[in-house]
């Protein structure tokens, strides 16, 4: 059964959102044979859902903007937890990354003088987000997708990678299955780039799709790579809350960027209390916590949210600049946003933590394994600014593609792996079909989502984090006895069964890192440690890694910024 002919690539990219596509384009442009694997059809990855814009200091609208200001905003937004090298490279290279997209055919909204228009967003000092109405992600992914397919990248759609294959501590391939047929597939590669996105499906209320099951985080962890900052999970302040079917669906920050106001049930602009200077355009961590508090203290809307209102703006401007929000509320909630306010509340949106990478090359701590995009950690620190994700994908996607190409060139000998790894992977994937009875993977996932939502959510405390850790152990035991109905042909129950393992592994890491960090900072808020600790925790990064088969959690010291960057914060 294990006699597969491995498909050979110099560089294999796992994940075809913005980061994966940009990495694959870069590796391929450097003349390397590049494969791109994705769980969904091409062009359906999470990037397509990004709405508000891509942050880059183009200074087309506000002349005073430059990379230093963008860098400073990013670090302050991340509560200084960011890897400063990544934040610096990101701020410097984002403008060129946006112009490159334009040269590849992306048609951004224009200024009066015919250049790329930029809008305001939370935590950005200047109008900085290049955008296309409220469908910027679609424009980006389509541009990258078309660039990629015309460049000869080989794409494996609806294919899930479940194992990385290794040789003497170096990643040399990947194993997975075709979702359509259930048949297995083996790749041999000189370098593997993970660009698998986030972890949202371990939470009940999330803007994330079924794909976000912590795959890349778990693959890297199992291969021995280090994860960092995993306690930092972003809750976007504005998800839909009503009706129940739409709960969690994203309401873009561009609504506030275009002038939308937040009010509580007493009609107060409550952000005046929490951040009188930036108001609605404060950072996401702060707006989310403020909404949470308003609702907790009894000033919420009928369905437990707050009001977000653009009805004071001219209706044609709302429809022109926020078309998909207009249709989303009209079609799904019977609300005409040009006349009535939207009901919104926090929704799990993004994980700042991820695979520890080298800022320049995207290399993880395991040779041959690189990462970019949401599954990589460090860039956003304790809280990501809106718009910085799309620019992150472009800047570090490109760098990881280049890094993988260089690694592949430097290690051009035959990459191999012990075939026993493939046989073991097969056995692990097929065992669920052998059980005559057992747990439904859907039931286990729902329990996991409740557990994480209630105990490792927006507001945390030690006892509940400990409870989550204990319960996760029980859930893992349940997940060890799954039962899957049907055949291997396009079987979502079977697929979820495997994804669950990834989620359970990473959920524990999130909970343990959250328990370890005894302070409140950015997206991590502890009721039992309410203050931000500038002496101890500001200097420490959490890490998680597998050592001798066991999870090890700890902290490491952050690198010092050079004086010329430090002076930006004086």
């Amino acid at each position: 059964m294990s006699d597969y002919d491995p498909i050979d690539f110099d560089v294999l990219v796992v994940g075809a959102g913005g980061a994966g596509l940009r990495a694959a384009i870069e590796a391929s442009a450097r003349g390397l044979k590049t494969g791109l694997v994705c769980k969904s059809l091409l062009g359906k990855a999470h990037t397509v859902m990004a709405e508000g814009g891509v942050a880059a200091a183009l200074a087309n609208v506000d002349k005073d903007d430059n990379w230093q200001v963008h860098f400073r905003d990013t670090m302050l937004g991340g509560k200084m937890m960011n890897n400063w090298r990544m934040a610096m490279l990101h701020a410097k290279e984002a403008p060129e990354a946006v112009y490159e997209l334009e040269r590849w055919g992306a048609a951004f909204d224009r200024t009066e003088d015919g250049r790329i228009l930029q809008r305001a967003f939370g935590g950005h000092k200047y109008k900085r987000l290049a955008h296309v109405g409220d469908r910027t992600g679609l424009e980006m992914i389509r541009t990258l997708q078309d660039r990629g397919v015309h460049q000869g990248i080989e794409v494996f759609m609806e294919c899930t990678i479940t194992h990385l294959l290794t040789d003497d501590g170096r990643v040399t391939g990947a194993f997975g299955y075709w979702r359509e047929s259930g048949r297995f597939i083996v790749f041999r590669a000189r370098a593997v780039v993970l660009a698998t996105g986030g972890i949202g499906k371990m939470y009940r209320i999330t803007s994330n799709s079924w794909e976000y099951t912590a795959d890349g985080h778990a693959l890297a962890y199992q291969a021995g790579a280090e994860l960092i900052d995993m306690e930092f999970v972003q809750f976007h302040p504005t998800g839909m809350v009503w009706p129940p079917g739409v709960r969690g669906i994203l309401v873009t920050e561009a609504v506030r960027g275009e002038g939308g106001l937040l009010r509580n049930s007493l009609n107060e602009r409550f952000m005046q209390k929490y951040d009188p200077e930036r108001l609605e355009l404060s950072t996401r961590d702060l707006v989310s916590k403020s909404i949470y508090r308003e609702v907790q203290e009894g000033r919420g809307t009928p369905h437990g949210g707050v009001w977000l209102d653009v009805s004071h703006l001219p209706a044609d401007q709302v429809i022109k600049k926020l078309p998909s929000m207009y249709h989303q509320f009209k079609d799904l909630a019977d609300v005409d946003i040009t006349r009535s306010p939207m009901e919104v509340g926090p929704t799990m949106h993004y994980v700042m933590g991820g695979i520890q990478v080298d800022a320049e090359t995207g290399a993880s701590t395991v040779p041959g394994l690189l990462a970019a995009g949401e599954c990589a950690g460090g860039m956003h620190g304790a809280n990501r600014l809106g718009g910085n994700s799309l620019s992150d994908l472009l800047v570090f996607g490109k760098r990881a593609g280049a890094g993988a190409a260089e690694f592949a060139r430097a290690n051009s000998g035959k990459a191999g792996f012990d075939p026993e790894q493939v046989r073991k992977a097969e056995r692990e994937l097929l065992s669920v079909f052998e059980a005559a009875q057992g747990e439904s993977p859907y039931d286990v996932q729902m329990t996991l989502q409740e557990l994480m939502q209630n105990n490792v959510g927006i507001i945390r405390e030690g006892s509940r984090l400990q409870l989550a850790i204990d319960e996760l152990k029980k859930l893992r035991a349940r997940a060890a006895h799954l039962c899957v109905e049907g055949s291997r042909l396009y079987n979502p129950g079977w697929h979820l069964g495997w994804d669950l393992r990834n989620m359970l592994t990473i959920a524990e890491i999130v909970a343990r890192c959250a328990l370890q960090r005894e302070e409140s900072r950015g997206a991590h808020t502890r009721l039992d440690f309410e203050n931000t600790d500038k002496t101890k925790w500001e200097k420490l990064t959490s890490f998680a890694r597998k050592r001798d088969g066991q999870l090890e959690i700890g902290t490491s010291s952050k690198g010092e910024m050079p004086p010329e960057l430090k002076s930006l914060f004086a």
């Binding site: 359906k44 679609l138 660039r147 359509e180 055949s487 396009y490 979502p492 129950g493």
Partner: protein, 247 residues
């Protein structure tokens, strides 16, 4: 048939692999504001764990969950139960034009192959990339396409006449129109557009009617492309002068 407690509706989903299919009936307790995709995912989680369906964003942004609901091609994530007659069963079938893999999942790979053949954006040499909003309003309309392939699904040329070799379908005329109308694009795709079968379209506007992004596919993409091809290839003067032209 599977039944559960609560406000009940009846749903019939066409299930099966390849050509072997049958409608399976489910009684589902629904919640306020649910869309058809909520029902399908609920059935998957509670009653039919191997029910195959594609979805991603659940917010009409990715174009994954195309299906035929009560005979009408729709995105399931955008189809509210409140808008359907719930005294009758809600019938969910996969899109018909593409080969069925399993349950609601069809093989749409043909579209991705067609896309590869389109000449990509080719900017003018040394273009300064200064252009104005009114120059790209129409381009942006074309680029709203979320590739749900509902237009491909309803187009007679594909659905009934199966002209897959001679016709790229409305989706790709939309892409071609977006490229041709870009103020800085310098490629000439008109000959290719003719070979892509633009004149097989007989303007019944079925594609426009099903487009969840409200792209005016026929009026704003296909007809302008036809006019451009005709202006270039079939004008009287071209016909008269062609024998003398070096091209």
């Amino acid at each position: 048939m599977v039944q559960e407690e609560g406000r009940q509706i009846t749903v019939r989903i066409l299930r099966g692999e390849g050509v072997k299919t049958q409608e399976v009936e489910y009684q589902v307790a629904v919640e306020p504001g649910w869309v058809v995709l909520d029902v399908v995912l609920h059935i998957q989680a509670r009653m039919a764990p191997d029910l195959a369906v594609r979805w991603n964003c659940k917010a009409a942004k990715c174009g994954s969950c195309s299906a035929e609901v009560n005979g009408k091609p729709r995105l399931m994530c955008k189809t509210r139960l409140d808008d359907l007659d719930l005294t009758k069963p809600v019938v969910v079938h996969p899109i018909k034009t593409f080969p069925r893999i399993k349950d609601l999942v069809t093989d749409v790979s043909w579209n991705f192959e067609v896309n590869k053949k389109i000449q990509p954006f080719t900017p003018k040499k040394d273009a300064a990339f200064i252009y104005f909003q009114e120059d790209i309003d129409r381009v942006q309309e074309m680029r709203k396409c979320i590739e749900c392939f509902l237009c491909q699904n309803v187009c007679h040329v594909l659905r009934n006449r199966e002209q897959y070799q001679r016709f790229v379908g409305p989706r790709f005329f939309v892409r071609l129109a977006g490229l041709e109308m870009h103020p800085l694009d310098d490629a000439d795709r008109l000959k290719q557009i003719e070979e892509d079968g633009i004149f097989l379209c007989n303007i019944t506007k079925c594609c426009t009617h099903v487009c969840p992004e409200d792209i005016h596919i026929t009026d704003n993409a296909i007809i302008p492309l036809k006019e451009r091809v005709i202006d270039k290839s079939y004008s009287f003067w071209n016909w008269v002068l062609q024998p003398f032209s070096s091209k």
